[in-house]
């Protein structure tokens, strides 16, 4: 079929080089992402224990997850708390600091770098270890509290009432990447809008509500989606700080941590695969929800409304 062949040749001439450039990524995507993902979908329906070949168990895993798994429910609630409190707080801090750094003060470059630094360190083991020290019974936080108030605080990191909050604080502290994105967004807002507003006598707070927030909405939306996904997947901090077990008393048993324990400590790789797929569905649902609500509060400048 010469016509078809001709089309193929034309397609290759036009796009071939592009696909060649894409090739490494494509290999990675199919080999390292899609392949394992599909394998894990299959394993979700088996009793794979890492040591023996998997056996098909049908809906057993799903039934257990839905009706019997108390820990699954508990770990979900821990993760939800982390997301629901951690993400908005992180975004608020990031936005606040971005607005401060948006002004041209002396040495602003230095401050930007300094505030970004914690995020560069990221979800590293070293930071988590440091956090343990900071919030321990004899840690820096308690020493300062004692000096300031004379009150001897508990070990925040190992008390079930506070441990999760130290993790949320760690999450908030690493506000650098959303901050940078907010900064870029703030630069996009035309200065004359603020000038006009202040001539009309609008207060700073009113300017923030009526100009900054609406015009920044797409960026806020972007950050919200990204940070939510990241928070759902949080693992390293909880793993290090909780002794790898969600201690104390399961209070920091994140969903991702529970999944890891099921897979590698309890040798239930099949069940853990199902847990991974459940997490994917939950993140998907949250993202879809964010997109659905976005039409009511996100305004794009090229939209006519």
């Amino acid at each position: 079929m010469p016509a078809r062949q001709g089309r193929l040749v034309r397609f290759w001439r036009r796009n071939g080089a592009g696909y060649m450039f894409l090739l490494p990524w494509l290999i990675g995507f199919f080999g390292l992402t899609l392949g394992p993902a599909l394998a894990s979908l299959y394993l979700s329906f088996t009793n794979y224990d890492l040591l023996r070949p998997p056996q098909w168990t049908g809906l057993d895993n799903i039934k257990y997850a839905l009706f019997n798994d108390v820990k699954l429910r508990h770990s979900l609630s821990v993760t939800f708390q982390y997301v629901i409190f951690g993400v908005p707080m992180r975004l608020a801090v990031a936005l606040g600091l971005a607005m401060i750094l948006d002004r041209s003060v002396r040495g602003v470059g230095f401050y930007r770098a300094a505030f970004y630094l914690p995020s560069l360190l990221g979800a590293s083991v070293a930071i988590s270890v440091m956090w343990r020290q900071l919030f321990g019974a004899e840690g820096l936080i308690n020493t300062l509290l004692f000096l300031a108030t004379g009150w001897q605080g508990p070990s925040w990191i190992s008390h079930p009432d506070y441990a999760l909050w130290t993790l949320i604080a760690l999450n908030v502290w690493q506000f650098g990447s959303p901050m940078i994105i907010f900064l870029a967004g703030l630069r996009q807002i035309p200065e004359d809008l603020y000038e006009a507003a202040s001539m009309d006598g609008a207060s700073g707070w009113r300017q923030f509500r009526k100009i900054t927030l609406p015009l920044l909405a797409p960026v806020i939306f972007f950050n919200l989606v990204l940070q939510t996904i990241e928070a759902f997947k949080a693992f390293t901090q909880a793993y290090i700080i909780s002794g790898g077990q969600g201690w104390p008393a399961d209070s920091t048993l994140f969903y991702s941590l529970y999944l890891y324990i099921e897979a590698f400590a309890n040798f239930r790789m099949g069940y853990a695969s199902l847990l991974a797929w459940i997490l994917l569905l939950i993140i998907g649902a949250f993202t879809a929800l964010a997109f659905w609500t976005s039409k009511y509060w996100v305004y794009y400048e090229d939209e006519s409304r």
Partner: protein, 426 residues
């Protein structure tokens, strides 16, 4: 996580070639393959093991690539490697796991190497038997140990208290001593760490009452009331102020350097006897070791194999792996470095060689095991599948009691039901 790959391999090979032609003792260990070795441990064990690896390489020209992890990461790492069909040739094994790993076809039976690469003629047959699964030898015990209490002797001597006879003291004595010591201990130090979180302590509790954790059939060998008693006792110890408040105790995430004893918050600590060596390195004061107080008429403790060396079924070079195990277990030069850090060896001639060379701390372990060995009950049957999960469930369950979120009896009921359902799960 630590992952120490050997950087001395190249030099070792060079030196090995030279040494092989000169050393007389080489013949017995001659091998020139390459094997991987994995163990869990602590910095002290890593140091000694790496030294023996070097010596073996120099003596034989074989290559050994060592990897080490902390206990908590070890089993996860091993499972991952097994799934990738990439297990190291020589694997340090624990009594808790050896049955599961052997029955799942991951370990090689060592019987064909006994007397044919691995010389066990001087090895105590009783200790050897603990590495048998379904009649075949899957692991060679690297030493015997037992559970124990260790305490800060310097502090206790300064106060002028002597402990009662360790073979007959009871949990009531233990609490009474703690109460008597109140107000006399250094600032910030409590009488004992809280042991309500430890599965081995729970086991001695049950055995002292003539029960155990698990039956040979893999069912629970105690009942709810026994567990309630255990939780109630340790909650009382905490409420009396003999052990640290819950949040301080919970800072211990299972690393020895975070233990109440190492951080100066505990006079008494729970340990396996071979760990005394590592603990003494962390505590400036002198520490000593005694038996666990009884809560019943039966002997709660037993002598257990501290750990094994096993061989991967998938090993490509079983001869070299066997040669390494043989060198590690039976050679005097290796054991002069290893001493009893992994427990007291079952090889009589090696024991005769190293006993005079032990330092004061190590001598204490020997003396301790001599006392213990006349007051023990037999090795319990191997724990059932999922016993590890029950072990891990105990700490959070205890934490809830310690933080006052649930009463000891209520928690005993909940934990018992949970343990039963874990055992029933596949």
């Amino acid at each position: 996580m630590t992952n120490k790959m050997n950087r001395r391999t190249f030099g070792g090979l060079l030196l090995g070639g030279a040494a092989a032609s000169t050393l007389a003792s080489v013949g017995a260990y001659a091998a020139d393959g390459s094997v991987r070795l994995i163990w869990w441990g602590n910095p002290e064990r890593d140091k000694r093991t790496n030294a023996v690896v070097d010596m073996f390489q120099k003596a034989t020209g074989a290559e050994v690539l060592p990897e080490t992890y902390a206990w908590g990461d070890y089993w996860q790492k091993l499972a991952t490697q097994a799934a990738g069909k990439n297990l190291p040739d020589v694997i340090q094994m624990d009594y808790r796991y050896i049955f599961e790993w052997a029955r799942r076809g991951q370990l090689a039976a060592l019987d064909e190497f006994v007397g044919n690469g691995i010389d066990l003629s001087d090895y105590d047959p009783n200790q050897l038997a603990s590495g048998k699964v379904d009649g075949k030898l899957y692991g060679i015990s690297l030493g015997a140990n037992s559970m124990s209490h260790v305490y800060n002797k310097t502090v206790l001597d300064k106060i002028g208290v002597t402990l009662p006879d360790q073979t007959t003291w009871t949990t009531d004595d233990f609490v009474q001593i703690g109460k008597d010591l109140k107000g006399k201990l250094p600032e910030g130090m409590y009488f004992t760490e809280n042991m309500g979180q430890y599965e081995p302590r729970l086991q001695t509790w049950m055995r002292s009452k003539g029960k155990d954790l698990y039956t040979a059939e893999g069912k629970l060998a105690f009942d709810e009331a026994d567990l309630a008693e255990f939780f109630t006792y340790w909650k009382m110890v905490q409420d009396e102020g003999l052990s640290p408040p819950a949040d301080l105790q919970a800072q211990d995430s299972g690393k020895m350097e975070e233990s109440m004893m190492a951080t100066g918050h505990g006079l008494f600590n729970f340990l396996h006897s071979n760990q005394l060596v590592a603990m003494q390195k962390l505590v400036p004061d002198e520490i000593d070791i005694v038996m666990i107080p009884n809560n019943g008429p039966h002997a709660g403790q037993y002598l257990k194999p501290s750990m094994f060396f096993s061989m991967a079924e998938g090993s490509q070079d079983k001869a070299t792996a066997a040669a390494f195990i043989n060198y590690f277990v039976t050679s005097n030069e290796a054991n002069n470095v290893l001493l009893i850090e992994r427990g007291v060896t079952g090889d009589a001639s090696v024991r005769a060689e190293i006993l005079p060379k032990l330092n004061k701390t190590e001598q204490k372990i020997i003396n301790y095991l001599n006392v213990v060995s006349t007051h023990v009950s037999p090795l319990p049957p191997p724990p059932p599948q999922n016993a590890g999960e029950i072990d891990r469930a105990l700490r959070p369950a205890w934490d809830e009691v310690a933080f006052g979120r649930i009463g000891p009896e209520e928690q005993a009921k909940a934990f018992y039901a949970n343990a039963k359902s874990i055992l029933e799960r596949t």
